[in-house]
C-alpha cells in the first residue's frame, strides 16, 4: 500500500468512533502493537527532543524501503508514534519525504499538531523525515 492508502485506512478506522474517549482508547491500543525498538537502540542519540515523555525511534533500510521501530515511556505518546510509523514504515525514502501529514488532523488529533505542544508530534514527524533524507542520500 502507498502512504496515502495507509493514511486513508487509518482515517476510516478513526471515523468509526463517536467521541474522544473511544478515539483515545483506540490510540492507546495501537500503542500496544507498536513495533518495538530493540533495547540496544534505546540510546540518548535516538531520543526525540521536544517531548514531555521520552520517545526513541530507530530506522533501517531493506530493499530500498525504510522500516521504523520505536518506544515511549508514555502510552498516549506510544499510540501517536505507532500511527505515524504505520503510515511511514515499509516505504521508499522519497515517498516518505513527499508525504503530507494532514491525516493527523482528519483523525481528530489536531490538538497534538501544534508545534508548541509538549508531546512533540511535530518533532516526531520531523525525525522520521530526517531518516528519510539520510537514506535518500545513500540511494543517490
Amino acid at each position: 500500500m502507498t502512504i496515502e492508502e495507509v493514511q486513508n485506512e487509518i482515517i476510516e478506522e478513526f471515523a468509526m468512533f463517536e467521541d474522544w474517549e473511544e478515539r483515545y482508547q483506540y490510540m492507546i491500543d495501537l500503542g500496544k502493537d507498536l513495533p518495538l525498538i530493540e533495547e540496544k537502540y534505546k540510546t540518548d542519540d535516538n531520543i526525540i527532543k521536544g517531548c514531555q515523555s521520552k520517545v526513541w525511534v530507530h530506522a533501517n533500510m531493506q530493499d530500498d524501503k525504510i522500516n521504523f521501530t520505536a518506544d515511549s515511556d508514555a502510552i498516549i505518546t506510544k499510540g501517536i508514534i505507532a500511527i505515524l510509523i504505520r503510515a511511514f514504515s515499509n516505504q521508499h525514502p522519497k515517498d516518505i519525504l513527499e508525504a503530507n501529514t494532514d491525516f493527523i488532523d482528519k483523525i481528530g488529533l489536531k490538538e497534538h499538531l501544534s508545534p508548541t505542544r509538549a508531546n512533540g508530534l511535530v518533532s516526531m514527524i520531523k525525525q522520521l523525515k530526517l531518516y528519510a533524507i539520510a537514506y535518500q542520500t545513500q540511494l543517490n
Binding site: 483515545y24 492507546i28 521520552k54 515511556d73 508531546n119
Partner: protein
C-alpha cells in the same frame, strides 16, 4: 469566612468550558486567574490615562505616574517594607533574581560561597551557576529529605565565613513545602551572609513581613497573585540596593549623562531602566488590594481545607503516591499513580476540562531525587471548591482506567 460562590463570580474565566466540559483550573501554581476588578483596572488604564511616566509634564503622564507610584506604595505596605524605594518593579521573579545575581558579581571573589536549596526551580539555579562561573565563587546545596523538607543540620554545616549569599524559596513550586526561612535568615546573618528569598509560590498564600523576617531581598511575580503576567517586584534593604551596581543601562535609570561620565539615578530608578510595564505595575497593586480585601488569613484557612480534603480523597486511590509530604506545606499536591506516565494522565484530564501541570515543574533535581520523570501537580487557590476536587477525582479514576 470566605464566600467561595461569591468570589467565583469575580473570575470570568471560571465560566468557560474546555473540550465541552466546565473548566476546572488546578494549575494555580503556574499562574493564577485574574478577577474582574483587576481586568477593569487594566481596561481603565488603556482607555483613560495611558502615557509614559516620570518624564511628561502633561496631565496624562502625571496621572499615570501617580497611579504607578501609588502601586509601589501599596506593594511597600503589603510587604511592610520600611521605604517605598526599596520596592523595585521588575518583569517578574526571574528578572528580580537575575538583577540580584548580576549585582553580586561585582561583590564576589574566588573562594566565596553561595548556598542554594535542593528545592529550587531552574530559574533559581541557573543564575547562580552563571554567577559562580563569572566570579570563581562556588555553589553549595542544602539537601532535602524524603518528605521534601530541607535538612537544616546540613545547612548549618554549610555556613562559614566564606558564605556570602543564601538563596532559598519560601515555598517549593514542585512540592509545596513551606521552608523555615526565619531560621535560615537568622543563621545566615550570624556569618554575615545576605539572604534572598523567592516568594513566587508563597505570596499567593501568605503575607510576608520583610522587616519582621529581616530578609535582605524578597522577590515575587504579580501573575501568581491574581495580577497580570510580565510584572513583579524585588524588595531589597536600602543598604543592599545601594551596594549593587545597576543591572541594565537606559532611560529612567540615569541622573546625568555625558560621553565622559554618567551618574546614576537614586533608588528605585537606578534599577528601572527604560519604560516599565506601567499598566502591569498598577494592576499588580490592584491585585494586592483584591487579595487583601478577601484577607490572607481567610485564604490560608480555606486553602488548607482544600489541601486536606484533596489529599484525603487522592490517597483513597490505589497505587497513588504523593511527593512532598512536609508538615508545613501549601495547597499543592504533586503525585503519580503506579507506573502511569504523568503526561498520559494530564492529557486525559485535559479532555475532561481539567487543567493540571505535568512534568518536572522546572525542578529536575527534585525529580532526580525521587527517581521519577515527573509528577502530576494539582494546585488550588481560594476560588477552587471541594466540588471541583470531587469532579477531579472522578475524572482521574476514569483516566487511570483508560490507561491501565
Amino acid at each position: 469566612m470566605l464566600d467561595v460562590q461569591k468570589i467565583r463570580k469575580d473570575f470570568p474565566i471560571l465560566n468557560r468550558t474546555v473540550n465541552g466540559k466546565p473548566l476546572i483550573y488546578f494549575d494555580n501554581a503556574a499562574t493564577s486567574q485574574t478577577p474582574q476588578q483587576v481586568i477593569d483596572v487594566i481596561v481603565d488604564y488603556y482607555s483613560n490615562y495611558n502615557a509614559n511616566i516620570h518624564r511628561g509634564v502633561h496631565s496624562l503622564s502625571q496621572e499615570a505616574t501617580d497611579a504607578y507610584e501609588q502601586a509601589r506604595i501599596k506593594i511597600q505596605k503589603h510587604f511592610n517594607a520600611k521605604q517605598s524605594h526599596e520596592i523595585i518593579f521588575t518583569s517578574g521573579t526571574t528578572h528580580s533574581i537575575n538583577l540580584v545575581a548580576n549585582g553580586f558579581s561585582s561583590l564576589l571573589k574566588k573562594g566565596d560561597e553561595i548556598i542554594v536549596s535542593a528545592l529550587e526551580h531552574h530559574s533559581n539555579i541557573v543564575p547562580w551557576q552563571m554567577l559562580c562561573e563569572r566570579t570563581g565563587a562556588s555553589l553549595k546545596v542544602i539537601p532535602m529529605n524524603e518528605n521534601g523538607e530541607l535538612i537544616l543540620s546540613d545547612y548549618d554545616a554549610l555556613l562559614n565565613e566564606h558564605t556570602k549569599l543564601v538563596f532559598v524559596n519560601h515555598i517549593s513550586n514542585a512540592l509545596g513545602t513551606i521552608n523555615p526561612i526565619e531560621y535560615i535568615i537568622e543563621k545566615a546573618h550570624a556569618v554575615d551572609a545576605a539572604v534572598l528569598v523567592d516568594g513566587a509560590q508563597s505570596c499567593p498564600h501568605l503575607k510576608p513581613d520583610v522587616q519582621a523576617l529581616d530578609v535582605d531581598f524578597y522577590v515575587c511575580s504579580a501573575h501568581k497573585i491574581c495580577g497580570p503576567t510580565g510584572v513583579g517586584m524585588l524588595y531589597g534593604k536600602e543598604e543592599w540596593l545601594n551596594k549593587l551596581p545597576p543591572y541594565q543601562g537606559g532611560g529612567e535609570m540615569i541622573a546625568e549623562v555625558s560621553f565622559a561620565k554618567t551618574t546614576y539615578a537614586g533608588l528605585p530608578h537606578k534599577f528601572e531602566a527604560g519604560t516599565p510595564n506601567i499598566c502591569g505595575g498598577i494592576a499588580f497593586g490592584a491585585a494586592l488590594d483584591y487579595m487583601n480585601h478577601i484577607g490572607f488569613k481567610n485564604i490560608a484557612k480555606y486553602e488548607n481545607e482544600l489541601l486536606d480534603y484533596g489529599t484525603e480523597q487522592l490517597l483513597k486511590i490505589e497505587g497513588l503516591k504523593i511527593y512532598g509530604t512536609a508538615k508545613e506545606k501549601t495547597s499543592v499536591i504533586s503525585f503519580n499513580v503506579g507506573t502511569i506516565h504523568p503526561y498520559d494522565i494530564g492529557t486525559i484530564l485535559d479532555k475532561m476540562g481539567i487543567a493540571v501541570r505535568t512534568g518536572h515543574h522546572c525542578a529536575q533535581p527534585i525529580m532526580d531525587f525521587y527517581k521519577i520523570p515527573g509528577t502530576i501537580r494539582a494546585s488550588f487557590m481560594f476560588y477552587n471548591t471541594k466540588e471541583e476536587i470531587d469532579a477531579f477525582i472522578v475524572a482521574l479514576k476514569k483516566a487511570i482506567m483508560m490507561l491501565s
